[in-house]
Symmetry: C2
Subunit: 232 residues, 2 copies
């Protein structure tokens, strides 16, 4: 029997629509719900043990987030991710993360510096262990910390949303062990730039960092598409 990972977490005291929203989003981001797959309300409602109403409201939010697309009179399906789409997202992300680190340079305080240094340490420790999952989380935590230092709530929200769009590719850059020393040095330079309040250097290295990620992801996508085309 196939195990059904898509389960609502009843521990949280949230409206069902938010629980369903999180559940579906997680399902899409982890790839459990595959691009192009139809999201049928009754089916999901039965599967999650709720009525259609919370399902529908969750879908409305996923729709606006761009994770599902609506086909009139046919319902929702998981949004397809195209190469163009990812390039667009990365282009915007580059601009926003540059802005974030520039603002972080301006606005960082002494206490925050120590905190950021710890996050950097965690990245370096994780890289030394070679544990891909640990590297990914430490990397995310480091970047989130920088965005948070910007003090701009809207920026935090947008970067987080754009990050989600690429969740399922987050390992691509990290999986390549030969890049590990490069990753470490990039993070180190970001950290140093912030310490030195060097906005230009900071923005530049962020752009390089994201470009490197983009290359890794694009290689992966093209491989996927090649495989798909060959399998026809």
């Amino acid at each position: 029997m196939k195990e059904d990972r898509l389960q609502v977490n009843m521990d949280e005291f949230l409206p069902l629509r938010d629980v369903v929203f999180k559940t579906l989003r997680k399902g899409i981001l982890t790839g459990e719900l595959k691009p192009g797959e139809r999201l049928m309300e009754i089916h999901l409602a039965n599967r999650l043990g709720v009525s259609r109403t919370p399902i529908r409201e969750a879908i409305r939010k996923l729709e606006l987030e761009g994770l599902v697309t609506m086909v009139p009179r046919r319902g929702a399906e998981v949004a397809n991710i195209t190469e163009k789409n990812l390039k667009d997202v990365l282009e915007v992300r580059q601009a926003l993360e540059s802005l974030a680190i520039e603002l972080a340079c301006e606005r960082i305080t002494e206490e925050n510096k120590e905190d950021l240094r710890q996050k950097l340490d965690q990245v370096e420790t994780a890289v030394r262990t070679g544990d891909t999952g640990a590297i990914a989380s430490a990397d995310v935590a480091f970047h989130d910390a920088i965005v948070e230092l910007s003090g701009n709530m809207r920026l935090m929200q947008l970067v987080s949303n754009l990050g989600e769009q690429m969740y399922r590719y987050r390992f691509e850059y990290i999986k390549d062990v030969t890049k590990h020393s490069q990753i470490m040095s990039e993070h180190r330079i970001m950290f140093d730039s912030i310490m030195e309040n060097d906005k230009e250097k900071a923005a530049t290295i962020v752009k390089v960092h994201i470009n490197n990620q983009e290359e890794a992801i694009m290689r992966k996508i093209q491989k996927e598409q090649g495989a798909a085309a060959g399998g026809r």
Copy 2:
């Protein structure tokens, strides 16, 4: 009898939720629905002549767009716009419009150049007439054209959304007649930079342009807040 401008437009062949969504958003942006005002489902349903279901789904989307905030067990209310909030939006907008014009420099084609020139002409004509509304539309059209030239769909979507957040302040910069020549010259420089593929100049002038808008809006907000504080 007070006229009720908040009416659904039945001409459109859209699901009711989308009609309601557009109607409510318009109401919020134009100020008909004021910040802090509660959006009660039954009330709105009666007012718009539909059931609660489409209302609720529309609110879910407005929630994710940031135009309404949810209070648990109390429902939705129109989001308050704080000075901090607007500054955050403008900061992000500056980064994104800079990106847009840089990309436009790279990607513009000969046909598009003529089109953009026309949009510039319309701005200049509107400024000469002094018609605030005409200037505002021509200005929006010019900026939209630039963002479109970027060829980045995600960027278009985000800039458009951020623009909405500030819709009700869109006249502040334009209303000041003494700034009109400045507006014209800023647009002219943006146009020229794109023609010359001068990314740096383009990004710089966009930042100046948005900074000027920010100043005008901030003056307005502070005046509003001063009036509110004095009226206590």
